[in-house]
Amino acid sequence: MRLLVARCSVDYTGRLAAHLPMAIRLIMVKADGCVAIHADGGAYKPLNWMNAPNHLEESPGRWVVTNPKGESLVITLEDVIEDRSIELGPDPGLEKDGVERTLQHLLADRAAVIEPGLEILEREYATDLGPVDLLCRDIGGQVVAVEIKRRGEIDGVEQLTRYLERLNRDTTLAPVRGILAAMTVTPQARTLAAARGIGWVEVDYDLLRGLEGRAPRLFEV
């Protein structure tokens, strides 16, 4: 992780044009190549950013970040106050709420509860936007990404949409479809999911826990 605190201005061109006037800002260059420009406030998202894959060209007083979509981020550096690189090491990932995590364990063991014939390929399948909870294969052989939530809301559909966009770039997986699995799915999330061709399913947490209790193991784990 490279952290640069600098007085800079930023110009983005791509889907639209945006200009950040000259001010002191934090520029983060992450190990995967993502570049993010932060102000000294707010925890939601950067002022401007460019996801990987991209290309960063540094020249004195000027950084140019470009990506294959033709977008560019030009950072004009007037004064570099701090520039340091820190090795963060492997990321253990986000610790999820207990119920959501348990739900993921239970569904990983019984993917067919989500959809008959569904078989799990991998849990926490990594994409460059984060891990997809379950990567499965359906009865017809198509790859299915499953996002598991305690409560399925619009955010969950948005998150799954982003994952699907990334997964479908992988020719070894595409075409990939998505299913949002949750204990409850809100009407808004159902509508948005349907509009985007994403499936949704409500799963019974208590029943799943009960089923686990009924399935004896050969040994304790």
């Binding site: 019984r110 067919a112 990594a126 004896p216 050969l218």
Partner: protein, 359 residues
């Protein structure tokens, strides 16, 4: 670096090494394939640091050198060229792939950034028949867990057993044990099942050498070498789970049993158990799903022992029966609450221990 090779040969070595390059790459450089050219050989390496695949191809070398090419793009680019000779070169930060007219150019990764991988250690390797080994992996891998929260159960345990190579896997609900004839087997380690499943798609061939070291397992053939980082931790004491003797034995035709399980599974879904009543002359197989209905049938078989009803998860039962490549299946049971053992009617090189479901 500049080489020339037949398109299909090049696709083969790139795509097989590329199997180790996943979307899970923690570092951008791991999305690349390391390509080293010297003498008459092009050596291709792909890794995600857990699994590494090395392939080789004899090529026309125009100039030697090393580069790291974007794995998926380079492979797909070569694949999409017209049939015939392909030129692959790296120069001044750019990779150029051309043949029959089209020319692809990609940005090169820095070879200096590619991780330094230790060479596979094959000194103590045992020789096995590649096809038999692939079959054995298929048989034991069904019982391995996919739950990363329990890493020890996501591996296949290798050990030497009576001059044979033994492979064992379990997800705690079932356990599969397979012995493979091997020359001078004396190895032990827990190999990720994901790596073993890649073996057949990457380097498996008629003859395979298998080595399990302290930290890595290596599988080598004339098609290349796959190495996998061993899973740390203690594998469950599986021997203590297998009962020494069984008073009740069923001998049944595999195909008839599979067809019956398939019919019952239509109703059973994943979590509804299949009930099997063991009795003289055969079994009564049934499944009942509340609010839906059920299915019942009789399958002729030989049964010796006490009449009883035992229930199994339909998928686990199907996996076990499917894994046995014989016409006749033997199911040995103690009682409805203790694990049953499935094995072939003739061979004793595979067994599948399955925990029943309480009714």
């Amino acid at each position: 670096m500049r080489i020339r090779a037949e398109r299909d040969d090049l696709v083969d070595v790139l795509s097989r090494a590329g199997r180790a390059v996943g979307a899970r790459a923690a570092l951008p450089i791991l999305q690349g394939l390391l390509i080293e050219v010297s003498g008459k050989t092009m050596r291709v390496t792909g890794t995600d640091l857990d699994v590494t695949v090395r392939t080789e191809l004899e090529v026309e070398v125009l100039s030697g050198g090393t580069t790291v090419a974007p794995a998926r793009l380079a492979t797909e680019a070569v694949r999409k060229l017209p049939p015939g000779a392909v030129t692959f070169q790296a120069e001044a930060g750019e990779i150029e792939i051309s043949g029959g007219g089209p020319v692809f150019r990609f940005r090169e990764f820095s070879a200096a950034d590619y991780p330094k991988l230790s060479e596979p250690v094959l000194k103590a390797a045992v020789a096995v028949d590649g096809a038999a080994f692939a079959d054995a992996i298929g048989q034991v891998s069904v019982a391995a867990s996919t739950d990363d929260a329990r890493p020890v159960l996501t591996g296949v345990f290798f050990e030497a057993e009576g001059g044979k190579l033994r492979m064992v896997s379990t997800d705690s609900y079932r356990l599969a044990v397979r012995d493979v004839p091997a020359v001078e087997a004396s190895l032990s380690g827990l190999v990720p099942v994901r790596a073993l499943k890649e073996l057949t798609r990457t380097v498996s061939a008629g003859k395979l050498r298998v080595a399990v070291g302290d930290r890595e397992a290596a599988f080598a053939s004339d098609r290349g070498v796959l190495t996998a980082r061993l899973i740390e931790g203690s594998f469950p004491n599986y021997r203590s789970l297998i009962p020494a003797s069984y008073p009740n034995r069923l001998r049944i035709a595999r195909q008839a049993l599979l067809e019956a399980i398939d019919r019952a599974s239509l109703v059973a879904e994943d979590h509804i158990p299949i009930r099997i009543t063991l009795q003289k002359g055969g079994i009564e197989l049934s499944v009942t799903r509340q609010d839906v209905g059920g299915e019942t049938e009789h399958v002729e078989a030989e049964y010796s022992g006490e009449e009883m009803t035992i229930a199994f998860n339909s998928k686990y039962l199907n996996d076990g029966v499917s894994a046995i490549d014989e016409d006749t299946i033997v199911l040995d049971v103690l009682d409805p609450l203790k694990p049953g053992v499935l094995r072939g009617g003739e061979g004793d090189d595979f067994l599948y221990l399955l925990m029943p479901v309480r009714l």
